[in-house]
Amino acid sequence: MNGSKKQFVEQLLAADRPSPELRRHYEKEVHAMLEKSIGPRQRRLCLVAAVLLGLLGVYWSLTGLGILATAVGREDTPVYPLPVFLILAFCILATGLALLPVAGMLLRAYRKGVFNQRNDRGWAAGAGVTYAGLLGSLFLLLCRYLPEMLRDSVQVVALVLLLYAAVAWVRHRIAQAEMRTAEKLLEIELRLAEIGENTKAGPPTDTSSPQHQPSA
């Protein structure tokens, strides 16, 4: 867009004079839209869910840690071999830890009264994929200690979980890398365009040169 077109557009936009009151109302709405506001009932629900999930997360994490602690330095139990105990403990610990960020997001939504859709969804998706991957790995480790009749089914579930997590992670990384590269290229292009414009405009006049010094 050249200079005269820009000026024309500016004048045309200036000819449209919106009401300040409607503008203020719109700005308030847009601010709320960037972080979706939630009502008092939803806030209470967020608090209840956060407390429940938080307690469950802490309980499972502690249980998992407790099992791990008791299993350390012990021989196989009469019922199950030691690795089964350890894997089950890790499963419980992973589930507990995955619940904690979700509880944290709900608590944040309750405290601030807003739900940051983009970031919170991103965090929840990340926690979900990590959890799926971790659970898949643990199930796979567990398989060799399971009875013959259960082994195949658990193996299939573990592979599905791992495949899902791997595909989601790779897709996310590729998309991020592509975006970062494109962004960097655009930044370079923008810088070049700025340099090009400055060069076209000519060198700045040096006001500190002796010719520009005021006479005494």
Binding site: V9, D16, R118, A193
Partner: protein, 193 residues
């Protein structure tokens, strides 16, 4: 050939918005709210409705920008979302809306140089109000942005030939309105004297 600095800056902004950068989203809203509001106001009669449509447009833009495949098509995409939102808003309120009648094809040469003939922005602004909806929307896009015929066609959801003919007849109609306004001014001046 190097591209225009503004075009690159817009593309970069679109990329950052796709990544979910909060500051970029705010910058996007700041940059585009005036031209979009102007465009929407040519489609919706009531100002409060226009602000409402603009807000709904941002809701759709924020939820859909991550799926914008080509950041270069940010401007046409924004105008398309705004237009669709304005029409669905009018439909939801059961507001009477004008028909988008078509006109015979005009030559592509008519597209260039149109703006040069319209220099008084106040006259253009007032003149736009007197035009039909089809003329108003195509001329507003023509005045506000440097969009290609194909891009305008994508915004309006019509073939490029229709865009050319609409633009041709819209310019003629606007010229008539402006000339009519000027002659009535002259008559008024003479009468007052």
């Amino acid at each position: 050939m190097s591209r225009d600095k503004d075009a690159v800056a817009r593309e970069l902004l679109a990329m950052r918005c796709r990544r979910g950068d909060r500051m970029a989203l705010e910058a996007l809203i700041r940059t585009w709210e005036r031209p979009l509001l102007y465009f929407i106001r040519r489609l919706v009669h009531d100002e409060a409705d226009a602000w409402d449509v603009l807000q709904k447009t941002w809701v759709k833009v924020l939820s859909g920008i991550s799926s914008l495949d080509d950041p270069r098509s940010l401007a046409p995409w924004l105008y398309r979302v705004a237009r669709n939102t304005a029409f669905s808003h009018a439909r939801s309120l059961e507001l009477p809306h004008e028909s988008l009648t078509d006109y015979p094809d005009a030559s592509a040469a008519d597209l260039v140089g149109g703006r040069v003939e319209f220099e008084d922005t106040e006259q253009v602004h007032r003149g736009l109000l007197s035009l039909s909806l089809a003329h108003r929307e195509v001329l507003t896009l023509f005045f506000l942005e440097d969009l290609s015929v194909e891009e305008v066609a994508a915004i309006l959801g019509v073939p490029p030939g229709t865009v050319k003919s609409r633009l041709y007849y819209a310019k003629q109609a606007l010229r008539k309105v402006i000339e009519g306004e000027a002659s009535s001014h002259e008559w008024f001046e003479e009468t007052v004297r």
